[in-house]
């Protein structure tokens, strides 16, 4: 319905600030929520050039050009695993500052329309190992000391876009495999031992006019760990 001021003023009465503010507040509410078609001029008065066109990226699940929540994705279940592995990090023996790799399918590209504050909410649920490959001094950590690290990144995988302070670990299921029944991992995958869900938030500010990749990366000392579930949700604040 059209705007109707809640307070009408009359000569000879005291002007109360709350009444004026009440009318202003009602106008604000009306303009934000209650405009109906009849309130608008019937003839055309807005063209597309007056509105910034956002773009929706169906596969990536993102709507670029809006301020605030832009979208994200999750994937998982035991039939749709991703894997991270030390074999992509030089068997885990190289520098933890340079050998990071992207977690498959978790990267997105943000079309930044102007300078922005970015919040990247992420989670992964992983099984680490068991990796009972014998330790080689100087090349691999002891079996019980192997970890797979997952970190969010914005921009690049080097120190400019990723920090070890944002990385979170998954432990190797340390004792390897049993050699007698019941076969399988020696220790159960509990929350304390080789299995877990990790969540975090990466915050950063970036400038307009750049196509900015964001997502999850890893550095692993374990031969293979399965990413059972993952999620990324993105907020981009322009204003």
């Amino acid at each position: 319905m059209a705007y109707t001021k809640p307070n009408t003023f009359a000569d000879g009465t005291t002007l109360v600030a709350a009444d004026v503010q009440g009318n202003v507040d009602a106008l604000r509410v009306y303009l934000h929520n209650n405009v109906v078609q009849a309130d608008l001029l019937a003839s055309k008065w807005v063209d597309t050039r007056h509105i910034q066109p956002p773009t929706f990226e169906a596969i990536g699940g993102l709507q670029h050009g809006v301020t605030g929540y832009q979208g994200g994705q999750w994937s998982g279940a035991l039939v749709n695993l991703q894997f991270v592995t030390s074999y992509l990090n030089g068997a885990g023996r190289n520098s933890s500052t340079s050998e990071w790799r992207r977690v498959p399918n978790t990267s997105f590209e943000l079309d930044l329309r102007r300078n922005a504050k970015i919040l990247l909410h992420w989670s992964v649920e992983m099984e680490g190992g068991p990796d009972d490959v014998p330790q080689v001094s100087g090349r691999t950590p002891a079996i019980a000391d192997r970890y797979a690290y997952v970190a969010p990144y914005i921009g690049t995988l080097d120190a400019a876009g990723r920090s070890p302070l944002d990385a979170q670990e998954i432990k190797n299921n340390a004792d390897g495999f049993r050699s007698s029944p019941p076969y399988g991992p020696s220790r159960p995958y509990t929350v304390c031992n080789g299995y877990g869900r990790r969540t975090g938030v990466l915050a950063a500010e970036r400038n307009a006019g750049t196509k900015t990749p964001v997502g999850l990366c890893f550095w692993s000392q374990i031969d293979r760990s399965s990413v059972v579930n993952w999620s990324v949700a993105l907020e981009v604040w322009y204003l």
Partner: protein
């Protein structure tokens, strides 16, 4: 429809009821929302040069110590005192506390939301058999050769929670954030907090315990206990505040343990209370993490 373009009131003008009413009735006219009164004064990203009025503040701080490979982590001891000692404040390994400060104070208005996200890497350090002390176990009655058995609940934990200073920039008036207890409420003779008062708490498990070769639930002679201290892993927490205006000068994460679930009596609220009996065998190691502060308007 005409353009709504009413001159502002200046000294010497008469303010009458009619003129005041007209200022609001302008928007009650049919078709008032048109090219002049809405389109050209509308707000979309291209029209706004100013930034930071919707999401007004974002800050990232370091917690703990940057030590990805855990070469020299920081240790937080468990509390063995009643009433408990002050909680452990996260530090950088050189006895310097790590927390967020806001120059001049961070103003959070009545229409703002103050959002906090944090993370940290932690690991339990155990000596002896703390899972078999205090009230960390249940006694299982067995009829086999193994007899009775103390089975750990594996519920022993550290807690991490948020404190802020909303008094002044001296940062000497730390208090728990709204919805959060200091874990010093007395619950059936122990110090802790009911779960309803743990709004800014993250629970950190310390070990897992299981039995191998348990014979139909009976602890027989072949049954062995297996225990595994919780290895290094990332933990995280999140909290938000809306309500009365407040100025925040500092924000930090503190730790205390060993806690265990308990309640005052049957039907009473569930709680986490401090089990001081096992303090000597438990500590929590940690390295680094992040503390993210974000403020934006919700109305």
């Amino acid at each position: 429809m005409s353009r709504i373009n009413r001159a502002r009131i200046v000294d010497g003008d008469d303010t009458t009821a009619a003129s005041l009413n007209d200022r609001f009735d302008d928007f009650s006219q049919a078709g008032a929302l048109d090219v002049f009164n809405l389109r050209d004064s509308a707000v979309d990203l291209p029209q706004i040069a100013k930034t930071g009025f919707q999401a007004s503040f974002m800050q990232v701080d370091t917690l703990g110590k940057s030590d990805l490979l855990h070469s020299a982590p920081v240790t937080a001891s468990a509390n063995g005192l009643s009433p408990p000692a002050t909680p452990h404040v996260l530090q950088d390994g050189a006895a310097n506390p790590t927390f967020a400060t806001y120059t001049g104070g961070l103003s959070v208005g009545a229409f703002d939301v103050f959002r906090v996200y944090w993370s940290l890497s932690v690991a339990a350090e155990l000596t002896g058999t703390p899972w078999n002390g205090g009230f960390q176990f249940n006694e299982v009655t067995g009829t086999g050769a193994g007899g009775h058995l103390h089975v750990s609940t594996s519920a022993g934990c550290f807690v991490a929670w948020l404190q802020w200073d909303i008094t002044d920039a001296t940062l000497t008036h730390w208090t728990e954030v709204p919805g959060q207890s200091d874990f010093e409420d007395v619950i059936a003779g122990y110090y802790g907090a009911e779960l309803a008062d743990c709004g800014a708490t993250t629970v950190i498990p310390l070990w897992s315990y299981w039995l191998r070769n348990l014979n139909n639930g009976d602890a027989s002679a072949g049954t062995t206990e297996e225990t595994n201290a919780a290895g290094w892993r990332g933990i995280s927490g999140a909290w938000h505040y809306t309500g009365s205006s407040v100025t925040v000068y500092g924000l930090r994460v503190v730790l205390r343990g060993v806690m265990h679930p308990r309640r005052a009596s049957a039907g009473a609220a569930n709680a986490l209370v401090n089990d001081t009996a096992v303090a000597g065998g438990v500590s929590l190691q940690y390295t680094g993490g992040r503390l993210v502060t974000f403020v934006h308007k919700v109305s």
